[in-house]
């Protein structure tokens, strides 16, 4: 009986050979503008051909009446094209409220969706931000999954995003 459970579990974890952690830090920069609204932000993993590998987070206005905050999801243009337009937002575990100025960290492990289904390979982390009455910016960080060793990469946005980092731990 115990053996049965053990084998069942090892089957679940069979695809990504080992456990690993992926942590993303996104800085929403302070902007000196007359009218400021928190940006919509999408964070996802793309394949080398830019197709979607895994959605990690979408920060959008989830509190408006009649789900009206979805009206601006298309301004996350690349995410909208690659994934968003095929989804029924909001989605539990993916949708989150827009974030204030500052650094925000989100973490994922191979124990849970969506990384539990991510096959080994070459990927890019994509972070796209779009701000009402403001601009849009998209940043990419390439990485190998699963990670062979602990690593941390960082990139800096110029307009709508500040520091974005990707930390991987085997």
């Amino acid at each position: 009986m115990r053996k049965g459970i053990f084998f069942a579990l090892s089957g679940v974890f069979a695809t990504p050979a080992m456990a690993a952690d992926l942590t993303v830090t996104v800085e929403i920069p302070r902007l000196d503008v007359a009218e400021y609204h928190r940006p919509y932000v999408a964070i996802w993993v793309e394949n080398p051909d830019q197709s979607l590998a895994a959605n990690l987070a979408v920060w959008h206005d989830i509190k408006m009446r009649n789900n009206e905050g979805t009206k601006w999801l298309k301004d996350l243009r690349q995410w909208w094209r690659r994934s968003g337009r095929d989804l029924e937002m909001p989605i539990d575990g993916l949708s989150g409220a827009t974030r204030p100025v500052g650094e925000h960290e989100i973490g994922f492990t191979t124990d849970a969706a969506p990384l539990d289904k991510l096959p080994a390979g070459e990927y890019r982390l994509v972070v796209e931000a779009s701000r009402e009455v403001g601009g849009r910016e998209m940043l990419r960080i390439p990485f190998q999954w699963p990670p062979a060793a602990a690593s941390s990469q960082e990139i800096r946005g110029e307009h709508e995003l500040g520091r974005v980092s990707l930390t991987l731990k085997p």
């Binding site: 979805t70 009206k71 999801l73 298309k74 243009r77 690349q78 094209r81 095929d86």
Partner: protein, 269 residues
């Protein structure tokens, strides 16, 4: 009475503008957005005939022949339609997810004949052809078919509204018309009466001429299967037009001009 007079005047003006359309005036529909999200968004669409794209400077596009096809294939009514000095405008409520097609189609005949040494001009349509006396000579009748289209999508693009009618010159998108991006190639097929229209020139003109010195237009030609491709040099609104002349007018032996025009938007990467 007044408004019917106005529409008659508009119709005449447009028929009069048709022969020169190839040289100068361009007819177009311009949607306020082509990619939308949300459950019940609206767009507003301008329609005009102008020299430069996409500016209101010459004539409103008459909306008599407007059809809006929803993502489920049903037709929906335009709301708040209005015709002004230089443009027409209408709104579309997009309460279904998927792709909408907006098309203004028209058909007209015009020509002339000689009777007792006098040249007479005539107008008509396929349904009400011009009356030519039996003893007339030098009869010349030309039929003009035109189709002016644009597309917009809420949520995930679909294909239902992209169905063609089999009449005149039409476009079947091979690349979805609301999935166009700067630097990427898009493919389309031209059909004439439902069959691939080979070796037809397509003019591609980017909008925003007021802020450029060069037209920046491109000419592409359809292959044996009627297929042409365009790589959008940059993001923006584009006007595409193709025209075919043949002898297949609805009065046997008369010349026919079929024109297809479409406004497409390429988005930045």
């Amino acid at each position: 009475m007044k408004s019917s007079l106005k529409w008659a005047a508009l119709a005449l003006g447009i028929v009069a503008a048709l022969p020169t359309a190839a040289q100068a005036h361009r007819a177009w529909l311009l949607p306020s957005a082509t990619v939308l999200s949300g459950e019940d968004p609206w767009i507003t669409v301008d329609g005009a005939i102008s020299n430069n794209l996409f500016y209101f400077e010459h004539f409103p596009l008459q909306l008599n022949g407007l059809t809006i096809i929803a993502p489920d294939g049903e037709t929906v009514e335009a709301e708040n339609a209005h015709s002004g000095k230089y443009r027409s405008t209408f709104d579309v409520r997009l309460n279904k997810q998927g792709t909408y097609k907006m098309a203004v189609t028209g058909e007209s005949m015009m020509g002339s004949y000689k009777l007792n040494g006098e040249t007479k001009r005539v107008r008509g349509t396929a349904a009400e052809p011009p009356v030519i006396p039996a003893e007339a000579t030098d009869v010349q009748i030309r039929q003009a078919l035109r189709r002016i289209e644009t597309f917009t999508t809420v949520g995930s693009p679909n294909e239902t509204a992209l169905t063609t009618s089999g009449i005149g010159l039409e476009m079947v998108p091979l690349t979805h018309p609301n999935d166009l991006f700067a630097g990427e190639e898009a493919k389309f097929r031209l059909l004439l009466d439902g069959n691939p229209a080979a070796n037809v020139d397509v003019e591609v003109v980017p909008g925003g001429l007021r802020y450029r010195s060069q037209l920046g237009d491109m000419k592409v030609t359809t292959d044996a299967d009627g297929v042409f491709s365009v790589t959008w040099p940059e993001a923006g609104m584009y006007w595409l037009q193709a025209m075919v002349r043949d002898e297949n007018g609805s009065i046997p032996g008369t010349q026919r001009t079929s024109t297809y025009t479409v406004t497409l938007e390429a988005l930045p990467q």
